[in-house]
């Protein structure tokens, strides 16, 4: 994958993921989304609702990757400390964002809710941040530098990602092809390693699973170079034919 591509990290924030109470679905969504945009997701971290932890993780990630996407911790309650932590990470003050205040005041008026202090906390952003619109429940996320701060509720986060997408530099899309071998990895490993060594522009992954007929393996070839991908795929197909002919595997598709 020698061609230039933006890189990214995901930072999931929340005690509830680490306690097991909430099973995260945001990482998978963002991973799929970035793949479509040609952005390489390189790392993800999950940290608790502890300011120092969020600051340390964010500062480690934001200098290293083109973009960082965070989810969680931007609601009105005492355990929502992401905006403050992001401000601290960037070393800037935090205050009510005028545009966010306007959005929230209008929204609470419309639904007949009191714009109390807790609710208006959701308008606070680090100095220099721009908003990420929230078409689902209005309280916005925000962008500061290369960091995108989004909600933890999947439905809201997914909508925010749509708002964020136009701001992102895209890479050449990663092309991917899969072949399924009816058999374990043990006999595939050696010839597959040889193909990988001959194909530096292609990343070949081997993912075993249990099929109804016994162990099977998905071989996934990924590359930004269409012709390199086609060449490697051809070799993998030949390998599959040969392994089947020799009775080493039950078949392929």
């Amino acid at each position: 994958m020698a061609q230039h591509a933006p890189t990214a990290a995901v930072l999931l924030i929340g005690d509830e993921i680490l306690s097991g109470r909430t099973k995260d679905k945001n990482l998978g969504f963002i991973a799929d989304y970035l793949t479509v945009l040609g952005i390489d997701l390189k790392e993800a971290r999950v940290v608790a609702d502890i300011e120092d932890e969020i600051v340390a993780a964010l500062n480690a990630l934001r200098v290293r990757y083109t973009y960082v996407f965070t989810t969680g911790g931007i609601g009105p309650t005492h355990d929502d400390i992401t905006a403050d932590a992001v401000a601290k990470a960037f070393g800037v003050p935090i205050d009510h964002h005028p545009e966010a205040v306007e959005i929230l005041l209008g929204h609470f008026k419309e639904i007949g809710r009191e714009p109390n202090e807790a609710r208006m906390r959701m308008a606070r952003t680090p100095k220099g941040a721009s908003l990420i619109a929230n078409p689902v429940s209005k309280a916005p996320g925000f962008q500061i530098g290369n960091v995108f701060v989004m909600a933890g509720i999947p439905k809201v986060m997914n909508a925010m990602m749509e708002e964020v997408a136009p701001r992102l530099e895209r890479g050449a899309p990663v092309l991917s092809q899969t072949i399924t071998i009816q058999g374990g990895e043990g006999d595939v490993a050696k010839p597959l390693k040889d193909i990988q060594e001959r194909s530096p522009e292609v990343i070949i992954g081997s993912y075993p699973f249990e099929s109804p007929q016994g162990f099977a393996t998905n071989l996934v070839l990924r590359s930004r170079d269409q012709s390199a991908l086609a060449t490697a795929m051809n070799e993998v197909r030949q390998m599959a034919v040969e392994l089947t002919r020799n009775g080493k595997v039950r078949g392929w598709s």
Copy 2:
């Protein structure tokens, strides 16, 4: 949560999670499992199949927490590099583990597979490691120091976790109670914050969700101190009664 408890981190290893191809289920399983054992999961990371990344993440985590649990990258193919990376992180050589060799030779004989070089790679462990039995597909995981190296396939990892559990020091179990408020977080936030401030031994989390009747909020109280938990829970119930009486929320349960 002032009482002593062991801490832990999880390191998920694999390109397939970062590309979105595989949706991770291992973190949630380990999180639930550790909660039952009274071990506090403090952090999780996902890294790609790149040796330097695995080494750096592992060395950051293993000095910081009582235990580190890794999943993925211990199969027979070229992209399975976890054992080598762990050896490098610990600065020790890697070689075939006699006991693992015996297990694998017996297994491959039984199922009529050739014990080729790739298959026997799965017997390699860093010097000083002890095995983690794999009752599902035989190829073992291993423990070195405070690091537990397990398979990525959930069924295999889950079985390995059962093997690991007796080796772990347990903490006092974290007790947890939940109350559901029929209403958004906005009116709950202020009184809830006051209760949190009066209850340093209890961690109170507020998790909004969309119910069929509109926005609702789960308030989760967690503590190792049963009486502190009961006191805080009482206050939260009183708060819910009052908010309902004032018409701020639709009810609670």
